[in-house]
């Protein structure tokens, strides 16, 4: 098993925590004196750098939200002089103003180091040819993989997006072994290849997909593996964190979060309190070395759980499990956190029903009720009422197992639930609270 930085990646828990505390302390001290934004926030929260006396004291520090980035557009949160910047990236800004992220030379280096450790942990190295089919430009996905690929000595093909036939030719002609892309683009590429008479599995050397940027299921991963012969590696990050940062290792048992670069917390999104180890909650990240746009207790908004046990690969840093959903999507029904993605995942395993669904939450007296409306597939329709009842019961049983909460299932006619372009709105909450 190759490491990029064996000492750091296999560091003991105690040593890592000592390092994290040192980094946190110096970051907070620097920000209090040099960042008007963090200075004001800490004053408001009545906390001084001196109040941070251990790693656990991180909970005293105020949170940073995505909204802060928008409110301080374009450079109100920069913590270094403009002349120290070497690059800007920006998010697309689908919900209002874009968020702009500045980088110092060290920031680019830390980012590259983080992702390069990940690529090495998958087994990639100088013998590999990595085609980066993420967008190059304001989006951090393209350049992030580009730099990390070069860092590990691999050959990078900066294909960016578009012209899929050309991308397939490059894969064939240059002996591409790994590709960074969204999972849906990789599947699309597989289809186009088939039309060209090219089997990704049999005719190319492509064996690793560095995939992320959109939610994807284990079902998609299996399809990518079975059909394309490509091992789909889950990659994680966002431009506020630097860009694509963390990946699974070859064990594929959670995404390694490098503790010397980022300190992860998992909190109850309602109370902001830490959840018990292994429990699910909102991921909150503190970037310990970030210079230009520091992130202290950034509410990422993704729901996950942390596994702090050392990985079978030998690395000791914590791992985040798969992303279960977004905080914005989370429902609390009878005190239980429910994510539409869990419902989607359950329904995907039931061949008689379609992919579209709707969750209706209501309150009868003091009790929350949950109904899942799902389209019965034409082929699954039977004239036999009892069989339809049994199907409903099967779906309800599976949902109960996945959600720990009972749901009423309603079968509806195909193509009657609303279709959405882009982000689907799956939840109707009728509770008047």
């Amino acid at each position: 098993m190759a490491y990029l930085d064996q000492h750091m990646e296999t560091i003991s828990q105690e040593e890592l925590e000592r390092l994290q505390y040192r980094l946190l302390k110096s970051q907070v001290t620097r920000l209090y004196s040099s960042s008007p934004f963090y200075h004001a926030r800490m004053k408001e929260a009545n906390v001084l750098p001196d109040d941070v006396r251990s790693l656990r004291d991180i909970v005293k520090l105020p949170f940073v939200h995505k909204k802060d980035l928008r409110d301080n557009y374009p450079d109100g949160m920069l913590a270094v002089p403009r002349r120290d910047l070497v690059r800007f990236h920006a998010s697309s800004g689908t919900t209002g103003k874009p968020t702009v992220v500045g980088y110092t030379k060290n920031d680019i280096d830390t980012w590259t180091e983080s992702l390069a450790r990940g690529l090495t942990s998958i087994g990639l190295g100088p013998d590999d040819v990595i085609q980066v089919s993420n967008t190059y430009g304001l989006f951090s996905g393209g350049l992030g993989f580009h730099y990390a690929g070069e860092r590990i000595g691999a050959t990078v093909v900066p294909a960016s997006t578009g012209n899929t036939e050309r991308q397939i030719e490059l894969i064939l002609d240059l002996g591409v072994t790994a590709m960074a892309a969204t999972p849906s683009y990789l599947l699309h590429l597989g289809e186009v290849a088939e039309k060209m008479g090219v089997s990704i599995k049999n005719d190319t050397s492509l064996r690793v997909g560095l995939l992320g940027g959109e939610p994807w299921s284990t079902k998609m991963r299996d399809r990518i593996s079975d059909w394309l012969g490509v091992k789909g590696i889950n990659c994680y990050g966002s431009s506020e964190m630097y860009g694509p940062m963390f990946t699974e290792c070859s064990e594929q048992n959670g995404i390694h979060v490098w503790g010397d670069i980022a300190y992860p917390e998992v909190l109850d999104p309602e109370t902001g309190e830490q959840v018990a180890p292994g429990e699910r909650g909102e991921l909150v990240l503190t970037m310990l070395q970030k210079e230009a746009l520091p992130m202290i207790r950034y509410r990422v908004g993704d729901i996950t759980e942390i596994d702090a046990e050392p990985c079978a690969c030998g690395r000791t840093h914590p791992r985040i499990k798969r992303i279960f959903g977004r905080v914005d999507d989370m429902l609390i029904i009878r005190g239980i956190n429910v994510f539409p993605s869990q419902v989607e995942h359950t329904l995907m395993g039931i061949p008689e029903v379609g992919d579209h669904f709707e969750i209706v939450v209501d309150r009868k007296g003091a009790l929350d009720t949950m109904m899942v409306r799902v389209e019965l597939k034409k082929e699954a329709f039977t004239d036999n009422i009892i069989q339809l009842m049994e199907l409903k019961e099967k779906i309800a049983y599976r949902l109960r197992g996945a959600l720990n909460i009972g749901a009423v299932v309603e079968l509806v006619e195909p193509n009657t639930l609303q279709r959405f372009e882009g982000k689907a709105k799956r939840v109707v909450d009728r509770r008047d609270i």
């Binding site: 009422i385 006619e413 195909p414």
Partner: protein, 143 residues
């Protein structure tokens, strides 16, 4: 040899909301399809509409084109005498043969009353019924 007794019933999946039956009935009217009989079986939140029409293919195509979930189900149509004891005569043969009825409905036709039967094996049931002297309608009598 019993296939001529397999009447093509349309089974339609329908959500339980106002206007669904009206929409389908209107479609049949527009296609000039005559409805002999129908019944609605109610599940929770949805229903299965079962209907016999004079031109099942045309009705099927129209409904499918509307995005309606529809399929053919083979049923038997037993002629009943429209007087006390008529139903007993029609179904006693099935009871004797131990054939279970999944569902059934009836209508009063022009000539006689008709009992529609859905059974697991229509051919076996047809054989038993005929051997007991029951009168089964044939497909040709529906078109």
């Amino acid at each position: 040899m019993y296939s001529k007794y397999r009447i093509k019933q349309l089974s339609i999946f329908s959500e339980n909301r106002p206007g669904r039956l009206a929409a389908m009935a209107k479609a049949m009217m527009e296609e000039d399809v005559n409805i002999y009989a129908f019944s609605i079986a109610e599940g929770a939140g949805y229903g299965v509409i079962r209907t016999l029409v004079d031109r099942p293919e045309k009705a099927f195509q129209k409904l499918s084109g509307m995005g309606v979930t529809v399929r053919y189900t083979d049923v038997l149509a037993v002629e009943m005498t429209d007087r006390p004891g008529g139903l007993y005569e029609a179904v006693s043969a099935l009871a004797e043969a131990g054939i279970n009825i999944e569902y059934s409905y009836a209508y009063a036709g022009k000539r006689c009353a008709v009992l529609i039967l859905r059974v697991e094996d229509p051919d076996a049931a047809a054989e038993k019924l005929l051997s007991k002297g029951a009168r089964l309608l044939e497909i040709s009598q529906f078109t």
